[in-house]
Amino acid sequence: MTEKGTVGTVERMTRAQRLVHLVLMVAILMLVFSGLALAYHEQGWAHAIISLMGGFGGRNVVHRTGAVLLVLVFIYHVIATNVSASHQRNALASVPKPADLKAGWATFLWRMTGRGEAPKYGHYTPMQKFQYWLIFLGCLLMGLSGVVLWSPKISLELFPKSFFDLMLVVHSSQAQWAFIILLVWHLWDVHVAGGNFPMNPAWITGRMREDLYRAQHEGEWEAMQKGTKE
């Protein structure tokens, strides 16, 4: 691409959003490594991870530190979306609408048949919105079940053993489901899809190449052009 140097960039993530993303990423990595090592404890790699974390006790510390970080960043996110104006704009953009279902279906049809024009997406694509809400609800459910598992002594004083077992299976099953979504879907989206290869740098620099931004969020781009013209 010869004109690469001349292509401008567009802001995609604010400084606050990047910070939230970074903390969320670190928290999830801590939780995923220490959690999967527990779920697959009989595997050699799990033993390696646990000894790397300083043994069974160390693994507990890593998992619980990750959990506290995740809860803090979740609380911050919920408060910020209700308080800050820029966050509110993002929050509004992420609200699922019937149009998202239509756009998602249109994407499927277009990819299958190639007929007509490629669907145009707004600030968040329907797929991004879907992932966001999966992770949002996932955090809630993981957090709630995690709190029960945190102290068996306290939770067993309040709930029967069968409830504890229920929370345990929900926690571990849902975690693995969320891990698959993040690993396959999110990483594909930001590293490969839409010309992002090798990586969409927005999570570090906050900015995206103009041509890619336009290709990925054409609906928003057109609205922005109109806005600047008017």
Binding site: M112, K161, S162, S173, I181
Partner: protein, 364 residues
């Protein structure tokens, strides 16, 4: 040597030497046998005993047939009581040392295997070496004159008789064992039931606090699993062999696997010697006793601890809702994965087709 040729002088001498040696051996056996008669002139009298200065009565009668029926049937009194040479004995005869014969490379053909050596490292061997007179030596478990292999049901150390042998010193534990599910099964003649040595080892018995002990907190689960993980044994008695796997998958089991020995092992809940079935009201794992049992570690444990199953197998329908949730998430995760591959595949397909189309347009 060709047939018909007479023996050489050297051969004749060798044969003579052999004959002398044989005669000497026969004579030696003869004298030992004669000595047995001498010994039995006193020790063969039923009721022969001696009262020591301490007031302790030594039963000194020996039934000569007991030795003749034992593995030592060809041995004579002084072969083992080697310090006895005069009658009456000027010194108190010492306790027999089995190692006179049972050492590796011995010419008497006495068996000597690793496990005899292990005894020295065992809790009994160490106590004996330290001069504890109550610590058992070989003959305290194997018997003195009527020693038989453990495989012989008449042997003191046979599977069926062994608990009584250990119980001679370990009285209280023997009582607990007898009343336990294992002890009762043994009394019924069920030879699958474990006796003391199946858990503690034979010559390797070590204190539970010793990390190398088979009953150390780090090894208890594996020791119980020797039988309890075997479906062929467990199904005979209606016990689930999966209890081992469900423990290994539990928080307690995983913590134990990673060396957290404060985490509960089998014996922490089921006890070591008092093991009773769940439905026995005296059992430590009876629902009524669960709060107390869990409370040993989880201070303040209440009835909630008993409200649900302990050995839960999420892969089995018996786990109820836990099974269905695990299955549901498994299906969800696999179909999500499949859906994502379709999503990615379609993305690539469209990109590929469009690139091909552009290429086609560019060419005239």
């Amino acid at each position: 040597m060709t047939p018909g040729r007479t023996l050489s002088t050297r051969s004749r001498r060798a044969l003579l030497a052999l004959a002398v040696a044989l005669a000497a051996a026969c004579l030696a056996v003869g004298t030992a046998a004669q000595e047995d008669v001498r010994c039995l002139s006193c020790h063969g009298k039923p009721g022969f005993k001696k009262t020591l200065a301490s007031g302790k009565v030594l039963e000194l009668f020996v039934d000569p047939t007991s030795l003749r029926l034992s593995v030592h049937k060809d041995k004579h009194c002084v072969d083992c009581h080697a310090d006895v040479s005069e009658v009456p004995h000027p010194n108190v005869p010492q306790k027999v040392n089995c190692r006179r014969c049972h050492y590796s490379g011995n010419t008497a053909g006495a068996p000597q295997i690793e496990k005899y050596v292990e005894f020295e490292q065992s809790v009994h061997g160490k106590a004996l070496a330290e001069g504890n007179t109550k610590a058992p030596a070989c003959q305290d478990c194997h018997g003195d004159h009527f020693i038989l292999p453990g495989s012989d049901p008449r042997s003191e150390v046979s599977h069926k008789n062994l608990p009584q042998v250990c119980g001679r010193c370990h009285l209280e534990i023997f009582g607990q064992y007898e009343a336990s599910v294992h002890g009762k099964a043994l009394a019924k003649g069920i030879m699958d039931a474990p006796v003391c040595t199946n858990c503690h080892g034979e010559h390797t018995i070590r204190k539970a606090a010793d990390a190398s002990s088979s009953v150390n907190a780090g090894h208890v689960a594996n020791t119980c699993a020797k039988c309890h993980a075997k479906v062929v044994i467990m199904e005979k008695y209606g016990v689930k062999a999966e209890q081992v796997a469900t423990y290994n998958e539990s928080f307690h089991g995983i913590a134990n696997e990673f060396g957290v020995l404060t985490a509960a092992n089998c014996a922490s809940c089921h006890t070591a010697h008092d093991i009773l079935p769940e439905n026995d009201p005296r059992s430590s794992v009876n629902a009524a006793n669960i709060p107390k049992t869990c409370g040993k570690c989880h201070a303040g444990a209440n009835a909630n601890f008993a409200n649900g199953r302990i050995h839960i197998n999420a892969k089995d329908k018996s786990a109820g809702i836990v099974y269905w949730i695990a299955l549901g998430f498994k299906i969800l995760t696999l179909s999500t994965l499949a859906g994502l591959f379709v999503h990615i595949g379609l993305d690539l397909y469209r990109k590929f087709r469009n690139r091909k189309a552009h290429h086609g347009e560019a060419k005239p």
